[in-house]
Symmetry: C2
DNA sequence: CTGAAAGCGCTAACAA
DNA sequence: TTGTTAGCGCTTTCAG
């Protein structure tokens, strides 16, 4: 299986020259006689010669493969970031190998090891939700493989990261809720140690403060980001004697589950409860009512992550940079009360 | 950049034996003295030796990389199939490189060439919507690279394919519409040459026949599968003097756009128009009303595609097999009229 | 039981 | 201007 490809040797034999002559001719080396060069190039063209990346890789100790690890590839947020990464990297002649950590550190560690063994030239990661330890990423650094985190990040002191202005956006949504008459604003969020969770919660608290609302800890619920867990959190909130009149979700996926739970018990959005999420997925405008959400520049996140990897490869040394991308609040029906 | 990894040579030098001895010891070759073998294995372990896949690849002429080309990676249908492929292939020690054709043959051809140049060990494809020509896939076959198509397929005579029972499902939805009082059933579909389009249209016609409804060609509209095009198609249908009272979409993404268009002009679902789609995306239960849809076993599609590739690699020859996977009709609010 | 050598496809320093 | 050689890391005959 798999037909043998044309090699330099084949061309050299046919033209009765040495392999290195062919090699040089094909890279337009000026040393080679013009006539001969053209002859070689023509045959290479005709035989459809393509250098073997395995051989090149072995020689240069590089694979031109960049690893990408995301919590899951099914969520719009991640898949569209991957799209951004791919666009940028493909142009530069790199390939990406995507691995899903399925939100588990265990799997994340496996992925890192697999990719390292594959000898990737760089690694782009969004942390799994339960990723506390950073030992496996230190290993990447030890191997001197360029590393970039996006959205959920760690090791910020040593690694380049792409993040968004979580604090200000969470703050703005919270005050926006208040301006639309909400007094009991809840926040369904994720695992405590994640930067996005900390930051969005911080923004939420700031927003409450600006609105002059006292923080009530029963309105802040942590989940593991799964739809089930988000559903449970919602039920818990709705079972309170003092039901919240607005809920901010740590992302849209969480809010979709919240929506389902709210509708199930017969409450109306936005009349009874205002809703907003983060990431502005495609389906934010499909659900009813349309969801207010913070639009993340997913393609930009992807492109920037790719660029940062490329930069490090080019420079041949680790770069520690932090890029904060601006997001946009898309206000829709779910958070407007007349 | 990128620290040198431990090689057989390093171990050989340290232990003052030959490289080949180390190589043999590490694969438990019985020839090697047990003591020596253990010593070598211990050092390899300690130094964290991992064979260089580039060197192995060069030797064996294989990369352990499988290419995957999909129309886009952002749609739930495709990303969850990719997940299925990855699950299966990862277990077998293969990596996947994903490329998006963005529904364009042009890009599809580029992807095929890129992947071929990368020397992939196999290729899994879902055709781009405007992919008429099959020349680029014939090239894959010429290179004797295992090839599998799923969902949107071609070259069925030569290549393995994974498809679903489109005809019967489209038929069943159509009669289901009829049973719920629909008389003017429309079908918004995709480009004519795609197998899924042909088959679903065929099922639609069968359903009409069973229901005793005459086919009216103004109720069958082809799109290029984009949200915009689906929106336009819907508007066209709704502008008819005899508006349809049910619409079958060729997939859920199309139907989501249809939903938006219907709501915009103030018609109600399901009271005025019944709706159903194909693929049962996650968001089918988030939209309002919840969408009736044919659930595709996406993970199964992915796993089967991967298995078929693996089988061909193992057998060392092309296999022509057609796997038809069963789907399930999930009836929800959008198609029920009391 | 172990080692030397060839070769996978390619590049680059060194000869000629 | 062109060829020879070594070497990237590994496996696998073939010798010893």
């Amino acid at each position: 299986m798999k037909k043998k490809r044309v090699t330099l040797k084949d061309i050299a034999k046919e033209l009765e020259v040495s392999i290195s002559t062919v090699s040089r001719a094909l890279k337009d080396h000026p040393d080679i006689d013009k006539k001969l060069r053209e002859k070689i190039q023509k045959l290479a063209q005709k035989w459809n010669y393509i250098p073997n990346p395995l051989a090149m890789g072995l020689l240069r100790q590089q694979t031109r493969v960049i690893g990408v690890i995301v919590p899951d590839i099914v969520t719009y947020f991640f898949s569209s970031i991957i799209e951004g990464i791919e666009n940028e990297l493909r142009e530069a002649g790199y390939y990406i190998v995507i691995s899903s950590s399925k939100e588990s550190v265990q799997k994340e560690i496996e992925c890192v090891n697999n990719l390292l063994n594959l000898r990737i030239d760089g690694l782009i990661v969004c942390l799994a939700q339960d990723s506390h330890s950073t030992a496996h990423f230190k290993k990447v650094l030890e191997h001197e493989v360029p590393l970039v985190f996006f959205d959920r990040v760690c090791l910020e002191k040593k690694v380049s990261t792409i993040v968004t202005d979580n604090i200000s956006m969470a703050r703005d949504i919270t005050t926006h809720f208040f301006e639309n008459g909400a007094k009991k604003i809840a926040h369904i969020t994720g695992p405590k140690h994640l930067n996005i969770v900390k930051e969005r919660a911080e923004g939420y608290l700031k927003g409450l403060e600006i609105a002059g609302i006292n923080f009530d800890k029963k309105y802040l619920i942590h989940t593991d980001l799964s739809p089930e867990s988000a559903g449970r959190a919602t039920k818990k909130l709705l079972a309170l004697p003092e039901k919240p009149d607005a809920i901010l979700g740590v992302n849209d996926t969480v809010i979709f589950s919240t929506m389902k739970a709210i509708k199930r018990i017969g409450l109306r959005i936005p009349e009874d409860i205002l809703l907003a999420g983060f990431s502005d997925e495609f389906h934010a405008t499909v659900v009813e009512p349309q969801l207010t959400s913070v639009a993340h520049p997913t393609h930009e996140i992807g492109r920037n992550a790719a660029k940062l990897i490329l930069e490090q490869i080019l420079e041949g040394r680790p770069i520690q940079k932090k890029i904060v991308l601006n997001t946009e609040l898309h206000i829709r029906e779910s958070s407007i009360r007349n």
